[in-house]
Structure formats: structure tokens, C-alpha cells
Symmetry: C2
Subunit: 334 residues, 2 copies
DNA sequence: GTGAAAGCGCTAACAT
DNA sequence: ATGTTAGCGCTTTCAC
């Protein structure tokens, strides 16, 4: 049952029905009586305008794309949730795609979404390459970036202050007397990771400590890779006494190795990790974390996108949110 | 740039271009030369048929809806990932919505998706109420259910064998000498929870143990609720010696309380939980789990939906997958 | 081998 | 205060 047949059934034109159903009856001075007739019948027959047809006609689908590298990572899952909630509240639907940390998948997904006429795209880019996204942006697709930022593109972004976060982390570890501090890093061309590692280098240099090249290891954000990296780091002759894990799954991988090697935290090894997780406080000892404000990040990214869609200026173009540091037992002998 | 303007640019009709771009050039005996001209120009100009317009014309959007109660729960996040992957491989896009465990939100989301002309809907229902979903189903919307099943609806479903899972769990705990076994349950009108609790009751009865009513507590699947429930259970005068948590977050909540009360696992309390999680093996002691085959569940749900969409019979209507039991330290004194 | 025309269901400009 | 018409971009029937 569609709008046109409802119109016929009521002896009215499709336009009139359309106007009333769009809630613009008064605006077009449709008589109260007609309005009532239409609304009542529409409810009774369960008639709603077909969104597909509307989208085509209005040149706007009120749908956004959400492109994420790994929805099974709790950090991104929470981010996705925040975006979806904001979007729904604003009357937008969300086409979700998981790029699986692959540039190729990211590129094809973005294309597919684009051809489905999304009004805008929120992306947590895989990182490293930006041409495929730049192309869509130059074709006029409104976009916003979250978490990871392709800085060569003039696309609004929202991310955590990764510099500040790692500064806090390193300072904390130095305060605890550590000097051999290592990093289990994530995807090494993702902006988040680049910033984190750079901040680590800066902070270490400032403290007068030479960072050995074996102290920064890792290729992606998975628990498996965390294990591999941690195993390398903890097998060094001069074993580091502290590790900063650049993601919650990396921390898990690192912990697995620490247990396997029977290292006692924080005595034999201090561990500090990005991302708050419900299990962080439950480990023995509990895990010191750098929480990223996910809900805020998701919401701000959506708002930035909304601004782009309505051709407004987004200022600042790149928003940086403060992390929350929670000191727990994994780094602190009390 | 669209198909029509490309046609004009080539001095051809839109029909011809459409046919070639749909890969049906040979079928319509379009000359090889024309085909080549079209394909080349299309690539060069980056022309792709507008999916919105196609959907309208073809009466199929090649989009499915995915309605989930809480995407930030790792179990559902993994499920969503599996569905999205299958869908993409089959050329479908996924409109994702999070019902936040609310019937109202679920109902509105389902409506919204329906009016966006999704070809089908995969839902992990909040549970308890089914009328809002039944309505859409009776309107002809192909549907499939995952994890939780509304058994009064003739809609295909895929879920874990919750009966078998809890049977294994209870048997294991009995074998360890426990008799006062309690449940931290999830949403008590979700089918998964109902089955799990029923199986618990059956198994206990079979073992000749009377289940006290204080032994089954809980209202939803969150860590917070897990805490509340566990606190009640562990404050009973005759404290249960074992707890089965019906979800991974519930287990976390329970653990929090156990730590707070300085209970030593498994000596003072045995804990066994649904859902495998990357942190399960890392806790001290590690957590005994009942893993659900999420990837398989997501894939099978999508396949069932696909069958519905193409009007095929789905048999069996309700698929039940076997859980994987992993015995770890939280239930076992060695 | 290719094109013209109709129509998917809607909305907006232009009637009256 | 409401209707008629055109058109969003595509596919398909029918025509030549």
C-alpha cells in the first residue's frame, strides 16, 4: 500500500497526501478536515511514504556510511554504538561496513556506500593510504574521520590527544623508576599509532633515555600480534621493565606472554594500556589504562559530518579529546 | 555523472548503456565494439549506476537490516561482524541498528528499516514481545533470528544449544562436588536465558538438588547487573559455592564482587560463564567458558535470510549450534 | 543491434 | 485549498 493508492482511495491527489504525510499540511493550507481524513486512513492502512523513492526525489537518503576497521574490537564497537545512536536521533540510518584493516576492502566498501548515495561517510581509516578516500571527498561526499586521522586530507576529524596520553603514561612509568620502557604498538601507519609512538620517543628523549629500536614492535592492533610483539620484547637480553600497549587487545596479548613467562606484575613488568575495558579492573593486578572518550568521539564525529552535509564550516577541523588516565596495580607497587 | 549523460556523451541510448553496465551486453547482442566503448568510458569517467534508482526500479535494494540489542557487547559485535561479512560477500549492504535492549527502540528501528525497503531483516530480538516483529513478517518482510528466538513466530532462527551448554556446565560443577550452584542470569524473557535457566533447573532436579529461588537472579546482560546479582547471591547465609554466569559481561560483574569480597576462585567460589572472550584465559584463575560459535551463527542466519528472500524453504526452521566448553581454573582445583 | 517510452513512488513547481 | 505535470535515474517492454 503506497501513497498514491491511498490518495485514490480517498479521492485526493498524491500531492495532497504527500504534503500531509510530510507534516506540512498547514504550510500548504490543507483543510483540517482533509488532513484528518488522510492521517487517519494512513494510520489505519499502515501507509508510510517509501523512503527509497523519497531519497531519489529529494536527492538525499538520510543515510550515512560507517566504515570501521574492526567492529569486534570493543573500542570500535563502542564507537559504532555512539555514532549509530546519534545518527538515529537525527533521523539518519547507518550503513555499516567493516574494512578488516585492509585498504582494499576499505576502498571497495567506501565506493559501494558512495554509489548507494549515502549523505555522508564516517570513517576510522585503516591508515597509511588516503587516495581512495580523497577521491570520494573530491567528488563531494561529506566525510568525517574518527580515531585515526589522515592529516593530508582536509576532512574534519575527532581523535584522542594521543600525544598527551603517552606523555602521561611515560611520565608515570618514569616516576615509578622505570627507564627501560617498551612499546607494543598497533598498526604502524595509523595516525593514532604514529602519534603515540612519536610522543613516546619525545618523552623518552626529554628524560634523557635512548630508545632502543627493539623497544618498539608491532604491526597491528590484534591480541595475536600483541603476543608476538610482547614475546620479542620480553626476550631481549636487557629486558624492558615496563610496556605501554597501544590498544586493549595488545594489552591482552602482552599479558598472555607475561603469564606464560611467569612474570609478576608490576614487580617484574609494569604494563599500561590504551583503552578502558570492563575487564581492566578485574585482572590481578588490575590494569592501568588510558581511556579514550569513545561516546564523545562518536557523537562529535557525527556532528562534524552533519555540519559538512549542511555545508557548514567545521571548526576546528581537527578536534582532539582528552584521555582519562586510571592508575591501577599493573604499574604501581604500593 | 550518471548513466544517461554517459549515453548522450557516447551518442547512445540510456538503455544500451544500462544493459552493458549490468554485464548483459552479450545477452542483448550489443556489438563488441559498442560494449568496449561503453565500458572504457564508464571506467574513465567513474560512472556507476545509481543504486538508489536501481533499487526503486528493481524493487530490491540489496540491503538488509541488522537489529541488535547491544553492539558494544563483544558477543554481539562478533556476531555483527560475521553477518556483515557474509552480506558483503553476497553483494548486500547492511543497515545496522542497536535496540539498546528496548522493545520500543526495537519496534521503531524495525519500522524505519522496513520503510527503507530493506530486502530482509536479521534480528537478535530483545525478547518477550514479538508483536512488532510479527507485524512486519506478516507484511512479507523476510526475516531471520539469531541468538534469541521468538518461538511463537514462524521465522527461521539460529542459536546455540543452550540446553546442552548448561547441562555440560552443571554436570561439570556437580563433578567438582558442588551442590549449591547459582545462576547470574541475563534478560529473563530472552529465549536464550529462558532455555539456559530451564536447563539449569532440569539438570539440578535430575541430580536431586532443590534449587532455591534466591539462586536465580538477574534482569539483563550487563556487567553492572551482574554485579548486583552476584552481590545478592554471595550474601546469602548459605552461600552458593558455584555460579554460572549467563553472559560474558555478567561474569565480569560477578568477578568484581568476588574480588571485593576477597573470595578465592575456585576454592571459595567456582565461576563458569557463557561466551568466550579474549580475556577469559588471562584472569587469575582463568575462566571456564561455554563458547558460542558466533561466526557460524552469523553466517547461518544470513544464509537463512537469503533463502527467505529468494522464497526458498528454510529447513530446519530453527537451527541449533553446539557450544564449545573450555575448562579452566575458575572451576577446577587441580 | 539499438532506441523510445513507460513507470518504480515520490515531491515540487506551477497551475487553478 | 487542491490537482496536474514533470522528473529524480534507472530498467524493461516493445518496436524497428
Amino acid at each position: 500500500m503506497n501513497l498514491k493508492s491511498l490518495a485514490k482511495h480517498l479521492g485526493l491527489s498524491a500531492s495532497t497526501v504527500s504534503r500531509v504525510l510530510a507534516g506540512r499540511g498547514d504550510e500548504f493550507r490543507i483543510s483540517k478536515e482533509t488532513q484528518k481524513r488522510i492521517t487517519e486512513q494512513a494510520v489505519e492502512q499502515g501507509v508510510h511514504p517509501d523512503e527509497l523513492a523519497r531519497s531519489l526525489r529529494l536527492r538525499s537518503s538520510r543515510t550515512i556510511g560507517l566504515l570501521i576497521p574492526d567492529i569486534s574490537n570493543p573500542f570500535f564497537a563502542s564507537l559504532a554504538r555512539a555514532v549509530e545512536q546519534q545518527a538515529r536521533a537525527a533521523g539518519y540510518a547507518v550503513l555499516m561496513a567493516d574494512s578488516r584493516e585492509s585498504h582494499e576492502v576499505e576502498a571497495t566498501c567506501a565506493q559501494v556506500l558512495y554509489h548507494r548515495r549515502i549523505d555522508g561517510l564516517i570513517v576510522a581509516p585503516v591508515g597509511g593510504q588516503s587516495a581512495h578516500l580523497a577521491e570520494l571527498h573530491s567528488k563531494g561526499l561529506p566525510m568525517a574521520q574518527m580515531d585515526r586521522v589522515l592529516k593530508d586530507l582536509p576532512i574534519p576529524s575527532v581523535c584522542t590527544d594521543n600525544f598527551a596520553a603517552v606523555q602521561i603514561a611515560v611520565k608515570h612509568l618514569l616516576d615509578q623508576g622505570h627507564t627501560r620502557i617498551a612499546c607494543v604498538q598497533g598498526k604502524n601507519d595509523s595516525s593514532a599509532n604514529i602519534d603515540r609512538v612519536q610522543s613516546y620517543r619525545d618523552s623518552m628523549k626529554e628524560a634523557g633515555i635512548t630508545v632502543k629500536k627493539d623497544w618498539i614492535i608491532g604491526t597491528d592492533y590484534s591480541a595475536e600480534q600483541g603476543e608476538v610483539s610482547a614475546r620479542k620484547i620480553l626476550s631481549l637480553k636487557q629486558r624492558p621493565t615496563a610496556i605501554i600497549a597501544m590498544g586493549n587487545l595488545l594489552a591482552l596479548g602482552t599479558l598472555r606472554v607475561a603469564q606464560e613467562m611467569k612474570l609478576q606484575l608490576p614487580r617484574d613488568l609494569a604494563l599500561l594500556a590504551f583503552d578502558e575495558a570492563p575487564w581492566a579492573s578485574l585482572l590481578q593486578p588490575s590494569l592501568t589504562t588510558l581511556a579514550q572518550p569513545v561516546a564523545e568521539m562518536g557523537a562529535k564525529a557525527f556532528n562534524a559530518l552533519l555540519a559538512c552535509i549542511s555545508k557548514q564550516e567545521v571548526t576546528p577541523l581537527h578536534q582532539v579529546l582528552q584521555p582519562r588516565f586510571t592508575m591501577r596495580g599493573s604499574t604501581q607497587l604500593h
